[in-house]
């Protein structure tokens, strides 16, 4: 018989008597125990630079007579900038799988909704625009 359980001698344990205060950065099955990563100012500075270059690129591209390719290029540059913001400024690159999955599922759902609406509008008046 072990000594009586009180609030003073009890280490926090789970059902299998594992100490849950022990922090294991390699633990990826319990994402809430993933090691917290501090993004350095150098990384933020580099991303700031990338965003500035992207801004100038999108202005530059809009000046070029590229016909129907102007829009896809503008969207591609904007998406690239957004990905850099999400991954680094918003820390998703260093986040748990739960957050990564949540973010990607959200953007994917948005993409599907836009595409379904577009298909509807464009096929109803096929050839009449």
């Amino acid at each position: 018989m072990s000594e009586p359980v009180t609030s003073h001698n009890l280490a926090p344990v789970d059902n299998e008597q594992h100490n849950i205060d022990f922090h294991d950065p390699a633990n990826i099955t319990n994402p809430e125990h993933v090691a917290h990563h501090i993004v350095s100012p150098a990384v933020y500075g580099m991303i700031f630079g990338v965003l500035m270059i992207g801004t100038l690129a999108t202005v530059g591209a809009s000046m070029l007579p590229l016909g129907i390719f102007n829009a896809p290029i503008a969207i591609a540059i904007a998406c690239t900038k957004a990905v850099f913001v999400v991954l680094f400024f918003m820390h998703v690159k260093y986040s748990s799988r739960l957050v990564k999955l949540t973010v990607s599922a959200g953007f994917f759902t948005f993409f599907v909704l836009v595409m379904m609406c577009m298909l509807d509008y464009f096929t109803r008046a096929w050839g009449q625009w």
Binding site: T6, S7, L10, A11, P12, V13, D14, I20, D21, P31, E32, H33, V34, H36, I38, V39, S40, P41, Y44, G45, I47, F48, L51, M52, T55, T58, V59, S62, M63, L64, P65, N70, A71, A74, I75, I77, A78, K81, A82, V85, V86, F89, M90, H91, S95, S96, L98, V99, T102, V103, G106, F107, T109, F110, L113, V114, C117, M118, Y121, W129
Partner: protein, 249 residues
């Protein structure tokens, strides 16, 4: 044990293994096992909110894409009537404010109170600069009678000024520039509303940061606000080419 003796001698309360037994930081709520778990839950919740924001702005973006395809010439002419340099400056200002906010999150992480305060102040100032430039742009549109409604004037689009490179639009197409301007004011207006709300929250965060609350390891509120501010930045990253740069050559 009889019922009577249970009443007179109640058993020691059952203590959950991970609850109020071990030391934990002051900001950890009792229903979380660890501060990390709480932080993860907070980020997850914030992202769920931001996904609803994507859907909110998404409807406007979809309407924009559709009408842009239907009335392309009207959208080009109307887009070229707004000031690209002001839009570019505002993009630089907003990305800079995102950078200062990111630095604010960093200084909260490394518990640098002074730097956190200055980062938040810089973010507030840049936010006001953005809104100031935006209001100058809005004022121009009102002066030019380019605001949809009773006082809207299609003259600039049907008879472009001699020094402009724009080709004249038919009256019907020129009237469709109102759709562009409706979307312009709706999208930039809702975006600006998000910034006004954000600046209000920034003031609250600044007051609390001055007490040292967020440089104790309690980074969550700063980090979650950072997520919101960066999201507003992302919306603008799309608005700028969509509204200002449809066809500038």
């Amino acid at each position: 044990m009889s019922i009577a003796s249970t009443i007179t001698h109640p058993p020691e309360p059952e203590i959950h293994a991970s609850h109020d037994v071990h030391e934990h930081p002051f900001y950890q709520k009792h229903h979380f096992e660890t501060a990390e778990q709480q932080r993860e839950a907070a980020s997850f919740g914030m992202w769920l909110f931001l996904l609803t924001e994507i859907m909110f702005f998404g409807g406007l973006f979809f309407a924009y894409l559709l009408y842009r395809n239907w009335y392309y010439d009207a959208f080009v002419a109307a887009s070229n009537s707004i000031s690209m340099p002001l839009g570019l400056i505002n993009t630089v200002v907003l990305i800079s404010s995102s950078f200062t906010m990111a630095m604010g999150v960093w200084s909260a992480e490394v518990r640098n109170k002074k730097f956190l305060e200055w980062s938040l102040i810089a973010t507030i100032v840049l936010g006001f600069v953005f809104l100031g430039i935006k209001s100058v742009e809005y004022a121009q549109k009102f002066e030019e009678h380019h605001v949809p409604g009773a006082s809207f004037d299609i003259r600039d689009f049907v008879h472009p000024p001699a020094d402009s490179k724009e080709k004249p639009l038919t009256v019907d197409m020129a009237n469709h520039t109102q759709i562009y301007f409706s979307l312009y004011f709706a999208m930039t207006g809702v975006h600006a509303l998000h910034m006004i709300i954000g600046i209000a929250i920034l003031f609250v965060l600044l007051v609390k940061a001055r007490t040292g609350l967020y440089t104790t390891g309690y980074v969550q509120p700063i980090e979650n606000f950072g997520l919101y501010w960066h999201f507003v930045d992302i919306v603008w990253i799309f608005l700028f080419p969509f509204l200002y740069l449809i066809n500038r050559h």
